[in-house]
Structures are given as structure tokens and as C-alpha cells.
Subunit: 420 residues, 2 copies
């Protein structure tokens, strides 16, 4: 059984690598036309998609999955339209392949160009959201890569249906059909085999919870770009515009609490805590947010639960917020660097110098002055669709979109130069 | 024993991470002054360095190491001067930290800057060359990183001496002394412990032979940037200037055969093979190069050994060359993409279109038209000193110098924007 899975997975990645070698030669107009056809095909096959999705939902119901997971699993008219739009958006974005990043002459008069090229074969390992299947097919093809997809077992019927629709489009196109591969085995052995194929797969992008990320990091021979937790902070300085601070905090916490760029911890300067906390906490409590605070917070706001040490290191992804009153900006920065996940953190302040200090001293992928951390994503940054938000430091940090799906080569033109 | 080593290594990486947090705040002038002092200190302590190096050489003699390894191990006046100069060169290069890579506004009018920042803690695992110790200390400090060094056991006395000299300079400086760490244990357990410290170390750069690289890739939880083999090709087209082709091939093979950017395989178009091969092979044979060829080559040049299938996949790092006569440019490109290591490959041609095709179709880090592959290094590219030549595709490809020792963050300035 396990050996059969191994053979199958190795077959997939070999095909993907062969296809990736031809992908470099596919023109931008062909790629865009294919993405648009896929977008239309998803809408045209809505009934089929909903039917297959129901099988996943039925299985989920019998498994007693948490409701947040089941919610991510659901396909409906709006979500299918969203998947279709994502492909259309990706078709519209400029292809980064071929872009000259820089151009220079060396001391020997060689003309050196640093040029963007596709990475090759991208492996994506993800959990319950079926839209990742079509989003990543679009992004990887557009950037000239082949893609090997391994979705969660809870979404297997939905993923297979989306994949089949995209594959049928490829069959009638000039893009090699093998450029997209879906590992349809739900066995762990499939993942562990995939992670060993460093001769065929160039990068693995795991999107998901701690367990998945941890497993991938511990077992992969292939370079990994993690898409892990967001423990995001907002720090309200004593120099903040408190009206703006309130809007920003409420937005960062409750506009969409289940995503990685939502605020999990609020830090407030002690000089404004008594004025600021009551007004913002009223709104949060009314919205149903559970507050957990340090002693100083609890002295100001009645009914706040005591925060445990572990609260400062927790990604709730839920209607829960931890609150701490700090002595000064340095304490806020130190708290963020110690307890955050280097994802997205914000300061609210009218003092430019303080804002600049925060921007340089906080070691996170995205650091904000006077804005909600919710802006950390490829779409909001203007990059179009995204593979996700990288929480790693190498190659791709923060929103990972088309440009981050490329690498580069040096193209060197000489007139016979030799090394002295 | 093993537990004591584990504790020690964890102590080193924790200290390095703490120091790295302070490194961001060290000014460029302080960093440059420290590098210059280290350069002077290496020269001033030459006698001490030579004495310690002798201990390594004595141990090597008793171990029957291969002569190439022993050669790499030797310190002498010239090499110590070279190490000193490398630090001075690194002091001269512009610090990439703080550079704005790009600057843009998003649809919500947020001002977004993509800014270079240090990576954090860089782990370097290397083999016998002691100069790597001071080269990497210079590069990592200059780019605002802390560095954890793990050299080969065959160079332990030399590495400890170089490290001590650099550490003594740091003790009298404003750079935290913990920013450089040398793992002085020669036990494998030290390396395996280091590779598990993904909470403290941000990247591992292994420089060395296949065994080392393979071990690191198989055991690291930390992102790895490999510095592995170079199976480099030169292809002489039927449209080549054969005089230039001869100079380029001789340079690529014999100017320094033991390095990763030296030519290992020569490909020649069948239409020029009879004219080209005799003249170039004369020089190579006179220089002592052993030739291994396919049947067509052996029909032209007497005394060429038959190349085995494995020859096309071998990095000789020695005075050996494999030669193959090809039907056309496409066969040459396919051979390079199949058998090369995507390091450095060259075409010699007068035809611009053919050159451009080669540049785009060969999937290597550095692709050359009419120049020797020997130019692939940080110094020759004008990047100053280098950590090495990355054979990976992510983050750093080809020469890995100061810029590649940085990552980036997004610094976002708003006026109270929230996500709709």
C-alpha cells in the first residue's frame, strides 16, 4: 500500500518536473487565456462542484470536525465566484518572468543581467480550503512553474473536482497538462514521500496549523517556505490619536477574527490606558469578544479575565483578545519581539520619530504605523492573488504572490573574457 | 557527553540570537572600524596563527588525508594576507541594510516600503578552509547578522585561533561579543544539535562535499542554502570564434581546476569538432589534463579515454575533462539541463540569437555567452567577498554576498486606514 503510494507520488513529481521545463517557453498570452478559460469553467461547472463538495461536508459531519474547519470547507455560489475571480485577477497581473532585476558591468567588462525565472516545481501542502487548489494553479502557471498540490483529506472530493475542471482546460491548451498535479491520496505516506523528492520539487509551501507546519519542517529535504501563525499586536502609544486608535483596534480584532493578520494582543501605554481602554472595550465586549488582561487592565475594565502567561504567545484566531498596559514604547517593542510571530504588528502614534523607531525596531514581516494589521495580504498590497503569507525570513516574507514564485539567474554576455 | 554538547550548542545559539537583536542598532562606521581592526589583528598575530595551524597540519599528516584537503588547510603568509584583505574589502562595500528595494502606494493610500534588514542568526557549516572563519565573520557582521560557525574538525586549531583574534577585537568594540560564535566541538552531535535550533538560527549555509550537504539537508529544521557541486559546461557552437573558444575552454579548465566554477565537460558542435578539438586538446594534454571522450571525440583525438555514463554527471575538481560532440545547440542545451548542476554554463558563439536562446533555455544560476565560467564568484561579479556560491534556487542563487545575507520587511505608513 505504502509502496504503491510512494511510486504514484514519485510519478507525479517527475511528470511535473518534465512539464516545468516546457513551461518556460509558454507565452504570457497563452497562460492568460488558459487562466480565463479555467475561471469560466469553474462557473460553468458549479453544479458539479457543489455536488462533490457535499460529499466532503457529509463526511465532515460524521467526523465531528470543529465548526471553523467545516466553514472553511464549504463551497457556495459566492465562493465559487470568488475562485473564478481570483483566476481572472491573476490573468491580469504582469508576469514577472523575464524582468531584469538589475543590470551591471563587472571590472572585466562583462554585461551581467539578473533576470527573473520560474522556480521550477512548487509543492503546496494545505488544509481544508478548496479554493487554494484553483488559486495556486493560477499563480503557479502564470509564473511559469509546475505545481504539485496536496490538499487536506477533509476536502478531497472538492479538490479533485476543481482540479479536474482545470485539467480539462489544460488538455485543450498549449500548456503541458502535466504542469498541474494533484496528489489524491489521503494517506500520510503521500506527504512524507513528497517531502523527500528534492530532486524533482524545488520548494514546499505548507499552509496550515502548527501540526502540519511542524511535520513538514521536520521531514522535508526540500526547501520550505512556512505559512504559519500570526500573533499580531497593536500598540496604542501615549502620543496616539485615540479616535483612530479605536477604529484601528476594532478593525484589527473583529473585521475577520479567524485570519492570521487579525490582532491577538493589544498593548496600551499606561498614560492613555484609563482614557482609551473603556471606550474600545465597550465596543469589543458588545461584539462578543472575550477579553483577557494583565492586572492594570483589569483594574480599569471590570469583568476582564486574568491573562495567563500562555495568552501572550497564543494565536486565538477567534473572538478573544489579550490586553496589556505597558510602561513605555520600548517595553511594547520588546514584548512584540519576544511574544509575536514576526507576522504583522502596528503602532498608533502621531509622533513621526516614534513611528520610525517602531518600524525599524520591530522585527516583523509587516510593520505598520497608524493602520490596521488586516492589510497584510497580497490583494491588499496590490500584488493580486497570493499563495499566502510567509512567516519565514528567506526568499519570501509576508504576502507571497507572483514575484515570490520566481527565482533569478545571471545572464552574462562577454566578448571572450577569461579569468586572470 | 552528547548531552553536554547539546547544552553547549544551545547556549551558543541563544547568545547569538540575543546579540543579533542588538546588531540592528550598530552603525555602519562602527562595523567598518571593527572589520579593519580584525584585518590588522590577523596580520599582527601571524606567528600565533601559523603555530596553531601547524597543529592541524600535524594531525592531518597522521590521518592520511588527501593532498587536496591538506592544501586547503594550510595557512601561510600569502593566505593570512588574503584573509586580512577580505575583511578590508568587506569593510569597503556598501551596507545593504536599510536599502529601500521598492516603494509603492496601495489602493488604500498606504505608503509601503520594502526595506532590507539583517536575516538574524546565520549558521555556517564548512570544511577544511580556515579562511572561511574570518571571511564569514566579516560578511555576517557587516550585514547586521550574528553568526554561528561550525568548521571542520581538521581545521579546529586554526579556526579557534582566527576566531579568538576576532573575538578579542569585538571585546573592545561596540559590537556585542556574542554576535560571533564558534562551535569548537568536533563531535557530530554538535552539528546535529545545531540543525535542530530553528527557534534561534534563521539560516544554515553548508559549504562542502556531497556527504556534508546531504547530511545537513536530511537533518535540518532550519532553512538551508546549499553550496554544493559545480558540474560546469562550455559549449562551442559551429558559429563560435574558435580562437576565443580555445582561450575560454583552457581558462575554464586549467586556471584553477579544483574550484566549483571550473569546466568539467566540453561540448562541441559536430561541424567544428575536427577543426577545434585538436588545437585545444594539445594544450590541455600538455598541461596534464586527462581527457575522457565520447566515440566521436575519440575518433578525432588519439589517446582519449572512453567516457563512462557516470562521467557526464561527475564534478572532477581535478585535471580531468569529459568531451562530447553534439549534433546541434538543442542537444547541447538538453545535455546541460540533464547532467549539469545548474551552477555555471557557457556557450561560445558569434550568433546573438543563438546566445540569447542559450541564456534563456539553460536553467543554471549563471549562464555565459563568450566568457569563461570561472567568473562565477562574488569578487569577480563585483559583490566583494562572498559566503560562497549558492546552488539552491531560493533566496540566494549563484554568488552569495552581503545583499544575500539580508532579508526584507514591509514598513507601512498610514493615517488611520482600516480594512473594509
Amino acid at each position: 500500500m505504502s509502496q504503491a503510494i510512494e511510486k504514484k507520488v514519485i510519478g507525479y513529481v517527475k511528470k511535473a518536473q518534465n512539464a516545468s521545463k516546457q513551461m518556460v517557453l509558454v507565452s504570457m498570452s497563452v497562460k492568460n487565456a488558459v487562466l480565463k478559460k479555467m475561471a469560466r469553467a469553474l462557473l460553468a461547472n458549479k453544479a458539479y462542484l457543489l455536488r462533490e463538495n457535499k460529499k466532503d461536508l457529509k463526511a465532515a459531519a460524521s467526523q465531528n470536525y470543529p465548526s471553523a474547519l467545516v466553514d472553511r470547507l464549504v463551497l457556495n455560489d459566492k465562493r465559487i465566484a470568488g475562485m473564478s475571480e481570483c483566476l481572472l485577477d491573476t490573468a491580469k497581473i504582469k508576469d514577472p518572468v523575464g524582468t531584469v532585476i538589475k543590470k551591471f558591468k563587472n571590472a572585466d567588462d562583462l554585461n551581467i543581467e539578473k533576470v527573473r525565472t520560474p522556480i521550477g516545481v512548487v509543492g503546496i501542502i494545505y488544509e481544508s480550503r478548496p479554493n487554494v487548489t484553483s488559486d495556486c494553479i493560477g499563480l503557479c502557471l502564470k509564473s511559469g512553474n509546475a505545481v504539485v498540490l496536496k490538499g487536506g483529506k477533509e476536502a478531497i472530493y472538492s479538490n479533485k473536482a476543481i482540479f479536474k475542471i482545470c485539467q480539462d482546460v489544460l488538455k485543450k491548451s498549449k500548456i503541458p497538462v502535466d504542469a498541474i498535479q494533484l496528489i489524491d491520496s489521503t494517506d500520510r505516506a503521500a506527504t512524507s514521500t513528497l517531502l523527500k523528492q528534492d530532486n524533482y520539487v524545488d520548494v514546499i509551501v505548507p499552509r496550515g496549523g502548527e501540526g502540519l507546519i511542524n511535520y513538514v519542517v521536520g521531514h522535508s529535504r526540500i526547501p520550505v517556505i512556512k505559512h504559519a501563525a500570526g500573533i499580531c499586536h497593536t500598540y496604542v502609544s501615549n502620543k496616539a490619536d485615540l479616535k483612530k486608535a479605536k477604529d484601528i483596534c476594532i478593525n484589527a480584532k473583529i473585521q475577520r477574527p479567524g485570519v492570521c493578520n487579525a490582532m491577538e494582543t493589544l498593548l496600551v501605554h499606561k498614560a492613555v490606558a484609563k482614557k482609551f481602554l473603556p471606550s474600545v472595550c465597550d465596543v469589543l465586549i458588545d461584539a462578543g469578544v472575550e477579553l483577557r488582561g494583565d492586572q492594570k487592565t483589569r483594574a480599569i475594565i471590570k469583568g476582564v479575565k486574568p491573562a495567563k502567561a500562555s495568552d501572550w504567545d497564543t494565536e486565538y484566531l477567534d473572538m478573544i483578545l489579550s490586553i496589556k498596559v505597558v510602561e513605555n514604547t520600548n517595553e511594547a517593542i520588546a514584548h512584540i519581539n519576544d511574544h509575536g510571530s514576526a507576522h504583522s504588528d502596528a503602532i498608533v502614534t502621531k509622533d513621526k520619530k516614534e513611528g520610525d523607531l517602531f518600524l525599524s525596531a520591530v522585527h516583523s514581516a509587516c510593520v505598520y504605523v497608524n493602520a490596521s494589521t488586516r492589510f497584510t495580504d497580497g490583494y491588499a498590497f496590490g500584488f493580486g492573488a497570493e499563495v499566502g503569507i510567509s512567516t519565514d525570513k528567506l526568499h519570501a516574507r509576508g504576502p507571497m504572490a507572483l514575484e515570490e514564485l520566481t527565482t533569478y539567474k545571471y545572464a552574462v554576455r562577454g566578448v571572450g573574457q577569461i579569468r586572470k
